[in-house]
Symmetry: C2
Subunit: 211 residues, 2 copies
């Protein structure tokens, strides 16, 4: 019965990943070990090592598989609304207790571990970048994005300010912060020509007063 | 002779910081210890601990004091040229062998060590943000920056894409990357009204073709 066997294997994998996140949230990344995950999940240590070479790799997979749906990209036809919805979802994850602290630790670890850094990019950043670029390309075709905007920079420009807040200032990641960043990125830093009232600005949340 | 005594103290401090960077570059952050710095610098371990509570704090100070001049902000009157010069200096540091790997490790450590994260912000990020905002405020007064641009976001928007490349994709940080990011941030993502030829775009490097 290969189907039942496959299902059992999938269930075992999911149980290990769930245990990784639960235990990681309880005791923190530093104290998390593959041995402790194995013990709590009732799995063999070697079963885990066969699939994941390090606790970083196990944690990365667990974070991605169990939170994938939160990073979906809507396409309602309104690029600002869609970017906003997607980025709200991303910052809710980053700011939440089950994802944020472990993901922060994982990125910390990726500064020492090139294999983990490569996995983070291959498994997480690149797929998200592909979705972002596809959504923005459609927006450009519909005239909602500047035809000059370099799509290869989209991830760096859109998510850079979020990672800066998450990793460097470690300040709060709120929807209001996302709104302000999107407003600023869409409007650009350089002065616009006159006749501001007539420019075709999409209906975003209001521009904040400048300090 | 308080002057001579002060000078000796300053020289000792500088010798310890230089040794920290030299040794850190040789053996890497993970293997760096305060004991090893003390031994090589010919200083007492307690002398170092009296001043720096952890190797992270010692390394942060060493990186900042010995590279401060590389982060100066010019003011030639042309805001794009000045930002470009300052950010070129910053990415040269980040991409260089004496600063980059140790600074990367320090940010990694700051993901686990809230005291180090606070020191990084207080000693490095906030002073740089203040200089950036002051330079941009002058530019805004001269009409070189959109009057709507929210200056409190300046660091996140300008340096976010650099940290994204440095910490997440870990791709090369080149002057060409800086040029493309500045072009995109100044122009903005939203479509401009017609009559593009007449808009008062500062003379920056050419806009790259969109992929």
């Amino acid at each position: 019965m290969p189907d039942a066997s496959n299902r059992r294997s999938t269930e075992r994998t999911e149980a290990i990943m769930r245990t990784t996140l639960d235990l990681g949230q309880e005791i923190g990344y530093a104290k998390l070990t593959i041995e402790a995950v194995a013990a709590r999940a009732g799995a063999g240590k070697h079963t885990i090592y066969r699939r994941w070479p390090s606790k970083g790799a196990l944690l990365l997979d667990s974070l991605l598989c169990l939170h994938e749906s939160a990073l979906a990209y809507p396409d309602t036809g309104d690029v600002i609304a869609d970017l906003r919805a997607q980025i709200y979802g991303a910052v809710d994850l980053l700011a939440g207790p089950s994802f944020g602290p472990l993901f922060r630790a994982l990125i910390g670890e990726a500064q020492y571990d090139p294999q983990l850094a490569a996995a983070l990019n291959e498994r997480f950043i690149t797929p998200l970048a592909d979705k972002t670029v596809a959504r923005l390309k459609a927006a450009r075709d519909q005239g909602q994005l500047s035809p000059d905007f370099d799509l290869t920079l989209a991830m760096a420009i859109l998510s850079g300010p979020l990672y800066f807040q998450f990793l460097i200032t470690q300040g709060p990641l709120t929807h209001e912060y996302v709104d302000r960043i999107l407003d600023a990125l869409f409007a650009g830093m350089e002065p616009r020509p006159r006749a501001r009232a007539s420019r075709a600005r999409p209906a975003t949340s209001s521009v904040r007063p400048v300090s």
